[in-house]
């Protein structure tokens, strides 16, 4: 069989015989990727204006939309606490906003159980924009019109990046479930 087609006994997650996904990887990848997303913007030097979209929040939305039911409903609080430590926002803002976002998505999902990509993008876009505005309001800085104008590209990027983030999450999900453990 393998001589005819080397991929005959494997699928997108790898070889099927004698292999199983690693439980550690299956559980940790979503959390680790969201935390890495929170850390990434810190390494950019944005001295003049809020520049980069909130990658941590976008990855949270991505995991929630692409893999409903994987993150528990309360996951926004611990992940938000980590984001607050490095993002420069006052501590508690992401705990509040990420929790509210997950509850909102849960309610939307019970209302519209059948969803597609475009509706996911619409939901993520609206939630992303509301998050962007709320984060600016609670940032502790005076909200000047100039600052709002300067932060506009950040809001636009937040909406436009969702499809890319969804693809990224999908590939991370394949990595998460790939059969890495050998059963002897």
């Amino acid at each position: 069989m393998e001589r005819l087609d080397p991929r005959a006994r494997s699928d997108m997650y790898g070889r099927r015989i004698n292999r199983a996904p690693s439980p550690l990887r299956a559980r940790s990848v979503p959390y680790l990727s969201i935390m890495a997303g929170s850390l990434l913007p810190v390494l950019l030097i944005a001295d003049l204006m809020p520049l980069s979209p909130p990658f941590g929040f976008l990855l949270l939305l991505g995991w929630r939309m692409v893999r409903p039911g994987l993150l528990p409903l309360w996951a926004g609080a611990p992940l938000g606490a980590f984001d607050d430590l490095v993002s420069g926002q006052p501590f508690g803002s992401a705990i509040l906003l990420w929790s509210l976002a997950l509850i909102a998505i849960e309610l939307i999902e019970t209302r519209f159980p059948w969803r597609g990509f475009w509706q996911d993008w619409f939901t993520a876009g609206v939630i992303g924009l509301v998050y962007w505005l709320c984060a600016l309001i609670v940032s502790g800085a005076r909200l000047t019109p100039e600052m709002l104008f300067a932060a506009l590209p950040q809001g636009v990027l937040t909406v436009l990046l969702y499809p890319i983030v969804a693809r990224l999450v999908a590939s991370l999900d394949r990595f998460r479930l790939s059969r890495a453990r050998v059963i002897s």
């Binding site: 850390l39 913007p41 810190v42 390494l43 950019l44 030097i45 944005a46 001295d47 003049l48 204006m49 809020p50 980069s52 979209p53 909130p54 990658f55 409903p68 039911g69 528990p72 409903l73 309360w74 926004g76 609080a77 938000g80 430590l85 490095v86 993002s87 420069g88 926002q89 006052p90 501590f91 508690g92 803002s93 705990i95 509040l96 906003l97 990420w98 929790s99 509210l100 997950l102 509850i103 849960e106 999902e109 159980p113 059948w114 969803r115 597609g116 984060a135 600016l136 609670v138 940032s139 502790g140 800085a141 005076r142 909200l143 000047t144 100039e146 600052m147 104008f149 300067a150 932060a151």
Partner: protein
């Protein structure tokens, strides 16, 4: 895609309870966040130790990316240099001629300065930086403009110390971790800095606008004496900064002052010097009564000189 059927509770009491518990925990998390947010807006320094630990952990990674950033800047400049080497060479030769003349003039001025200073009996102590550090990162997603440097309390850095680059003022230390510190950049909309015009003594405040420019607000209103191209330097009022460090260049005039562009842009800076507070005793004296009154350690900001804005209590005692 519909949610997997395992997530519908149906008639199973256990599933219903776990769904309800999930909502309960998420709501509790949101409430906890609201409480913490209110606390940290009320007392911004409350979570400084926890953030210090986090920034200590991030700083080494940031140092690596900062080194890579500096390296890549050099590469691009080197490539660009090949393209306009000839023109640049001629320009530089002309500039060197002029610089040589100016240098001679400066020597004369320096000698005269020393003579006059000797007459007045002034001796100028040079301030030595407490630490020289790299800018390792910023809060790029947030509306606040903070930066991280890879020197902290173990290097002697303390909150309030001015952070300068070789061109001018970058900002002020806000919180310190063990090996990293958080810097409030001038462009943050909570940052206020007393400045004066370099040429004379027109005093003003430089406030961050949140979009990368500074709003220069004159203290004495009247005819606006500022002109486009004027250089504003620190006035030394408030005691945090030593006087005479470049802050901004006026780019546009407004009725009450002007809009200033930064002289030292953090994005173009690799190394910064953290200097001691210029007049530490005066700063301590200014902050002591304030702390006694409110008890809140709000974000430290440069206090205007007592003469510039008399406090309401001082006015009351005058009556």
């Amino acid at each position: 895609m519909a949610p997997p059927s395992s997530r519908r509770s149906g008639f199973s009491k256990k599933a219903q309870y776990s769904l309800f518990t999930g909502y309960l925990l998420a709501g509790a998390g949101a409430l906890l966040g609201l409480g913490l947010l209110a606390l940290s807006l009320w007392q911004p320094a409350a979570f400084a130790p926890v953030r210090g630990v986090a920034s200590d952990a991030v700083a080494p990674v940031g140092s690596a990316t900062a080194a890579a950033r500096a390296g890549s800047q050099g590469v691009f400049e080197a490539i660009a240099g090949y393209f306009n080497a000839g023109r640049q060479n001629a320009e530089l030769r002309r500039e060197v001629e002029i610089a040589r003349i100016r240098l001679a003039e400066a020597e004369g001025v320096k000698a005269e300065n020393a003579r006059l200073r000797g007459l007045l009996g002034l001796n100028e102590g040079t301030t030595r930086p407490i630490a020289v550090a790299r800018l390792v990162g910023t809060t790029a997603t947030s509306g606040r403009r903070h930066a991280y440097v890879n020197a902290g309390a173990s290097d002697g850095v303390a909150p309030g110390m001015p952070v300068l680059s070789e061109r001018g003022v970058i900002g002020r230390v806000l919180e310190t971790g063990r090996s990293s510190a958080r810097v409030l950049l001038l462009t943050d909309s909570e940052s206020v800095l007393p400045v004066r015009r370099a040429a004379d003594n027109v005093i003003a405040f430089a406030e961050g606008r949140g979009d990368g420019l500074l709003r220069i607000r004159l203290v004495n209103l009247g005819v606006n004496p500022l002109k486009v191209g004027d250089v504003m330097v620190t006035s030394g009022a408030g005691g945090y900064y030593r006087p005479g460090v470049a802050v901004a260049v006026i780019a546009k005039l407004t009725p009450d002052g002007g809009i200033g562009q930064l002289v030292a842009e953090p994005g173009a800076t690799n190394y910064v010097a953290i200097e001691p507070i210029a007049q530490a005793a005066a700063v301590a004296a200014l902050e002591a009564p304030e702390r006694g009154e409110s008890g809140s350690a709000a974000t430290p900001r440069p206090q205007p000189a007592p003469s510039a804005s008399p406090s309401p209590e001082a006015l009351e005692t005058l009556d």
